[in-house]
């Protein structure tokens, strides 16, 4: 007897339209950024306007190779001008009564370093937009230099490991939490190993951006910069979640929630051992990194316990 089984929702159920990006776009093999852009575009719909800046996404978004491009409206500006340019667009649309979803799409260097002031300002003004930071933990487009997203111990071109150095000496900025502390309506973390979780967050962000600021922090491994095999990037995303290195959570109207709780998280070494940028790490550095991961997760748990549903 055939059993009628309830159909499980699939990621593609969230798609609004065909892929707006052509094949053959100029990303490295195995780049999560390409998957991220195509996914964001499909879930948020074809009428969104991207705002971006010189970065890894620029060769595709700006149309450096116009033979392989996309069909979205796009505004390219300086590294310091993303959230402010997006404010200019959304404010005019509001004044003119034009309905629009404006999506800032920048790397961690723009969001967390050089463009941070303007991002913080737009968040404080609660501008009606979505800001997606694709976090590949460094300035990958300019040649893998350290950014304030680069984790402790990572070897980059400006914090190389060597006989007298074990890579970056300080940890990364806890950016999603920094944004959450702006008391904006919505902040979430997402990554490409958990697409349904990501899709739900994008849908929520799109609805919330009609009224205010939505920030998404997306973990996007860089195959070149992190020195990983081209077929491993989604697995790295999954490992980052399973080790609590990059927990998936959201805060909506001040209420924190871990959206993908991890039972028995693995030690962070399970993640770092697969990444070339950490291969020089000794046990003592690894212990420091583990300490930072644990501390951040405790803070997150406390925020969840203090504001949202019990975990």
């Amino acid at each position: 007897m055939a059993v009628e089984r309830k159909r499980q929702p699939k990621v593609c159920d969230y798609y609004q339209n065909d892929d707006q990006f052509s094949p053959g776009v100029a990303f490295c093999s195995g780049c999560t950024l390409e998957l991220n852009l195509r996914f964001v575009s499909r879930v948020l719909g074809k009428d969104i306007i991207f705002v971006g800046t010189p970065s890894c996404s620029a060769p595709v978004l700006h149309g450096q190779n116009v033979g392989a491009w996309h069909r979205h409206g796009y505004y390219a500006c300086t590294m310091t001008g993303v959230a402010s340019s997006a404010s200019g667009l959304t404010r005019y649309y509001e004044q003119a009564g034009i309905e629009a979803t404006v999506v800032c799409h920048t790397g961690d260097g723009c969001a967390m370093d050089v463009g941070f002031q303007t991002l913080s300002g737009a968040a404080e003004r609660n501008e009606k937009m979505i800001y997606i930071c694709y976090d590949n933990e460094g300035y990958m487009n300019t040649g893998i230099q350290q950014s304030s997203a680069t984790p402790f111990g990572a070897s980059t071109s400006t914090t190389p490991s060597g006989t007298a150095s074990q890579g970056k000496t300080t940890g990364s900025k806890n950016m999603p939490l920094v944004m959450a502390m702006h008391d904006i309506p919505y902040v979430a973390t997402a990554t490409l190993s958990h697409l349904e979780d990501y899709a739900k967050k994008l849908v929520k962000a799109k609805a919330i951006a009609k009224e205010g600021f939505a920030y998404l922090h997306v973990f996007c491994p860089c195959v070149v910069g992190w020195k990983i095999p081209v077929d491993s990037s989604v697995q790295v995303c999954r490992d980052a979640v399973r080790t609590n290195y990059f927990p998936l959570w959201e805060v909506e109207d001040g209420s924190y929630r871990i959206t993908q709780p991890v039972k028995d998280p693995k030690p962070v070494g399970e993640l770092t051992k697969t990444l070339g940028k950490f291969k020089h790490l000794r046990d003592e550095e690894l212990a420091i990194l583990q300490g930072q991961v644990d501390h951040r997760f405790k803070v997150l748990q406390a925020l969840c316990a203090g504001t949202g549903e019990p975990q």
């Binding site: 310091t80 001008g81 509001e94 003119a96 303007t118 913080s120 404080e124 003004r125």
Partner: protein, 396 residues
């Protein structure tokens, strides 16, 4: 206090005049960040907004760089946008100003001239406007409160003109004009609507709106880039004739004009000429009259358009003169003279070799007095009679 939107005469400051003009042009988006001596402009606009007189999006940004990006994007989306700044605020916009100009975004910006060097002179001086010379913006500089108001209105007409589509800065001297209260004739808002009406009948600019994919700031590598730079340059050249035409149209609509690119005063029969700009012009005019009475045939050119440089009209005004002096309120490194002097000197192939004198005065709120200008005219006149002269003179 109720804001009157009919034609009126009122005593207002230079900053007030700028704010009134901006409000009368009905910008869709105003983005601004405070800085002395400009703050009054954006405070006045905030009050207009709060009182419901100005229906716009007023964006209280966290810095001038963001202000410039907001107004640039708002105009690329199809709106009219305004911002105001000064000194360090202007140079903090530097990268964004290249973008606005490169996008051919018709932003109108007030820059209240103030010294920006690290010596922290919170004082008048024109070094700020000089330092953004090559960003690709049109730059005007004006003399008094009435001209601030009129030129700001004309700036919207110019920036958004289909043949131009360039951002425009209206400069005026901080302190001397920003806080100077004068009687100003303020046009009625409907008069200004009628004056700007012509822009609506021009072909629409391309704009970024949802559902109509357009790339703003897409990559332009190689020939594409060169083509756009050449077009930008050509638009800049068109500004010269256009500003004369717009000034003429303004004069017909409102009963007063300001000369377009330059304004000449008693130059026709003059043997020698002083060239200057901004608030010093009033003092200079007084001294031209005084020296004329003393028998020196001296004339004055007031420079209104700084970028593009009014090469043709200025050459015409200076051609055949026996000596020329240029008064600068800023300095030009590398040439050891004033920047307007350096540019005037470049007219030599057109006007012939005559003694030219550079005067640097009025830095950091040092008053450009009648006595100073009298000395300048004496020096220029002396040089015209063959007396030895010093090329560059710093006053006082």
């Amino acid at each position: 206090m109720t804001v009157v939107l009919d034609k009126q005469r009122k005593v207002i400051t230079g900053n007030g005049a700028a704010a009134y003009a901006a409000m009368l042009c009905r910008p869709d988006v105003v983005a601004a960040y405070p800085i002395t001596p400009q703050s009054e402009v954006i405070e006045q606009l905030a009050k207009f907004h709060a009182d419901g007189v100005l229906d716009c999006q007023y964006v209280t940004v966290e810095g001038e760089n963001s202000a410039q990006n907001v107004v640039c994007a708002a105009t690329m989306a199809g709106g009219r946008a305004f911002t105001a700044t000064s000194s360090y605020g202007l140079v903090y916009m530097y990268d964004a100003m290249f973008q606005t100009a490169g996008f051919r975004a018709p932003v109108v910006m007030i820059n209240v001239n103030r010294e920006p060097p690290g010596i922290h002179a919170v004082c008048s001086g024109q070094q700020d406007m000089i330092s953004v010379r090559d960003t690709g913006w049109v730059q005007l500089i004006v003399e008094d409160c009435q001209e601030i108001l009129d030129t700001t209105i004309m700036a919207f007409r110019l920036a958004e003109d289909y043949d131009i589509q360039l951002p425009v800065i209206v400069n005026y001297d901080g302190y001397y004009l920003s806080f100077l209260a004068e009687s100003v004739e303020i046009p009625g808002i409907e008069e200004v609507d009628r004056y700007l009406e012509v822009l609506k009948s021009q072909p629409p600019r391309s704009r970024l709106v949802p559902g109509e994919p357009l790339g703003c700031g897409s990559h332009g590598i190689g020939a594409g880039y060169v083509e756009l730079r050449k077009k930008h340059m050509a638009a800049m050249e068109r500004v010269k004739a256009k500003i004369d035409e717009i000034d003429q149209g303004f004069s017909e609509a409102f009963g007063r004009g300001h000369g377009g690119q330059i304004e000449e005063y008693r130059t026709e029969d003059a043997d020698v000429v002083l060239v200057t700009s901004g608030s010093a012009v009033g003092t200079a005019r007084t001294m031209i009259d005084a020296k004329r009475e003393a028998g020196i045939k001296v004339g004055l050119v007031k420079l209104r358009l700084y970028r593009p440089f009014p090469v043709e009209r200025l050459s015409q005004a200076l051609e055949g003169k026996k000596a020329i002096g240029v008064l600068d309120r800023s300095i030009c490194f590398g040439w050891d003279c004033g920047p307007l002097y350096m540019e005037t000197l470049a007219l030599t192939p057109r006007i012939g070799l005559v003694p030219m004198l550079s005067f640097i005065d009025g830095l950091a709120n040092m008053d450009i007095t009648q006595e100073h200008i009298g000395r300048m005219i004496d020096d220029i006149y002396g040089a015209s009679t063959g007396r030895p002269y010093q090329e560059v003179t710093w006053l006082p």
